[in-house]
Amino acid sequence: MNVPENLAKSSLLALVIFWTIISSVHFDQNVLLYVMLSFIPVCISVTIVILGTICPFYWSAKGNDVTNKQVFKLCFPYYTCIAFGLCSYGIVVSNYDLHFSAFCLSAFITTNQSWLWFAKEKTRIDDRI
């Protein structure tokens, strides 16, 4: 599993989605400065979420002769439905606050894409199959 590469790609994706949504409502000329500054908290959030909620599924499957694709097929539907429920709930509870909605949307899309990137990585079991 190439965790660092996944984290880097996911952080970048989250950053782009988050700022695209924010900029669509009020565009600030100094936005580039904020974007660069916000990369650090975005990176930290993405790392915590991916290491805490996605990687354990793949790590636990390592010793059981299960491929990443099988892990994805088995666990991803439940994960994404729960994530969708939590994000929707968060958006409604926050009374559709722009920043929180952008955060939830970027978190939802990024985690889903991160699952996909992990699933598409070739494992040793894949080679054996």
Binding site: S24, P77, N112
Partner: protein
């Protein structure tokens, strides 16, 4: 062609929902969804189950427009997920259809991306989509249309007026992002996916209970003895409770709201505990081989009598709730108690059928969830606010006017019409008038996407020019 359809649908999605509240738009979205699903899954739509679900979805869409209530919106969303789930696999249980429907809607794109063989797709993609051709097909007519519109504008004042009225101000980055969301949604539901292995496992699970290889007469005899003793004792206890409850029912004083409320609530708590334990115990004893044991007649009869006693308990609670409603009027909680009673009754009937026809747990879950879904759809067809207000003002011995005024605006017109027929303070009359005026103002400010049946029928009140 598919992409063009999705793009058109996503543009409609933005026109219908961007910066709008729910109304006619949700009903129209439902119809667009049905049309798109039928066009791209025409083979699957020959199944009766799918047609039934499409009909239920269309019906829920009509009631969103007619009732304009939160319950109708919830029912419409549930019907949407059920329909999408049924398109992905029509033979599964309804709860698996919900799961497939939600999964397809929220993550169909990621699932398909995962399943596609990248190399194969690259070849197919080039073969299927000729970008240059599509660019010409869309770009050239668009450019020429714009040029000719500009030319004709100067030639005819009426044409010029019409063209000037077209306003694209609503299009901004946010609108475009919203359209992308619509594209994502429609592309997801157009190719429904299934959750594996949940779907295949559900398809393999029948409703029939099978006798297992561990069939032991000795063991079953002991289990039957335990079950008979336990259920007989619980039968006696419940019968005794019902007798005492009947006695207390005759002594209820209908003038005291607190006493009635206490009776209903304690009854409901007893009912919840009793029914859950009853179904749990019955399911435990009839979970396996005891169903096939030749001498299980007595145990079955005792279980049936316990179910019957629980039904009597339900009827008693329904009577208490009815007395409560007649004396102090309808409220959402009191209606909820009646709905809960109906669902409990259905739960007991399905448990009875499970034991009688030797069915498994899957049968119970499948039937109960199906019935719960139907009950949700039926409840969404009723304008509860209007019923509560009309009933309380016309039939109830006593009612809480504060409660009625604090309900949603859907009872504003009824309250306003009946305000002079009821004895209330001037302060409350003023509150009713304010509520009515606010409601009429809201209706008159609605965009066409937010229209409801109420707006259409009260158009003469909303638009003073028509007087």
């Amino acid at each position: 062609m598919k992409h063009i359809a999705i793009i058109i649908a996503s543009l409609l999605f933005s026109i219908l929902f961007y910066n709008k509240s729910i109304g006619l738009n949700l009903s129209m979205f439902s119809l667009i969804t049905i049309v798109i699903l039928v066009i791209y899954n025409s083979e699957k739509f020959k199944s009766k189950t799918l047609l039934l679900h499409a009909f239920a979805y269309a019906l829920s869409a009509i009631f969103v427009f007619v009732n304009h209530s939160s319950l109708a919106i919830i029912a419409n969303c549930a019907a949407f997920f059920t329909l999408v789930g049924t398109v992905s696999q029509s033979s599964t249980s309804i709860y698996v259809q919900w799961f497939n429907g939600i999964y397809t809607t929220v993550a169909g794109f990621f699932h398909r991306n995962f399943e596609t063989n990248e190399a194969a797709q690259k070849v197919d993609w080039k073969k299927d989509v000729d970008y240059a051709h599509w660019a010409k097909l869309i770009g050239i007519p668009l450019i020429f249309s714009i040029v000719f519109i500009l030319l004709y504008k100067n030639g005819n004042p009426i044409f010029n007026d019409l063209i000037s009225k077209i306003n694209f101000d609503f299009i901004n980055i946010q609108w475009v992002l919203f359209t992308v969301l619509g594209y994502f949604l429609f592309s997801n539901i157009l190719n429904p996916v299934v959750v594996e292995p949940a779907t295949s496992k559900d398809l393999q699970t029948t409703n029939e209970l099978q006798q297992t290889a561990t069939f032991s007469v000795e063991k079953l005899k002991k289990e039957k003895q335990l079950g008979t003793t336990l259920l007989a004792l619980l039968n006696v206890l419940l019968a005794f409770y019902i007798v005492t409850d009947l006695m207390s029912l005759s002594s209820i004083e209908t003038s005291k709201a607190s006493e009635l409320s206490n009776h209903v609530h304690s009854g409901i708590n007893t009912l919840i505990a009793s029914i859950i334990i009853a179904i749990g115990i019955i399911l435990y004893f009839f979970r396996g081989n005891l169903n096939f044991y030749a001498e299980n007649r007595i145990l079955k009869n005792i279980a049936f009598s316990w179910i019957c006693l629980n039904v009597i308990l339900i009827v008693l609670i329904a009577i208490k709730n009815h007395i409560y409603i007649t004396s102090f009027g309808l409220t959402y909680k009191r209606i909820g108690v009646h709905i809960y009673i109906v669902l409990t009754l259905i739960g007991l009937i399905t448990t009875f059928l499970k034991v009688l026809k030797i069915k498994n747990l899957a049968f119970l879950f499948r039937r109960n969830t199906q019935i719960a879904f139907v009950v949700l759809l039926l409840c969404s067809t009723i304008n509860w606010d209007a019923i509560i207000t009309t009933y309380n003002l016309k039939n109830a011995d006593d009612y809480d006017i504060d409660y009625l005024i604090n309900l949603s605006n859907r009872n504003a017109i009824i309250l306003y019409e009946l305000r002079d027929d009821i004895e209330i303070s001037q302060h409350n009359k003023n509150r009713i008038e304010t509520k009515y005026q606010n409601h009429i103002l809201n209706l008159s400010q609605q965009k066409w996407q937010e229209l409801s049946y109420e707006t259409v029928t009260n158009a003469h009140v909303n638009n003073p020019k028509t007087h």
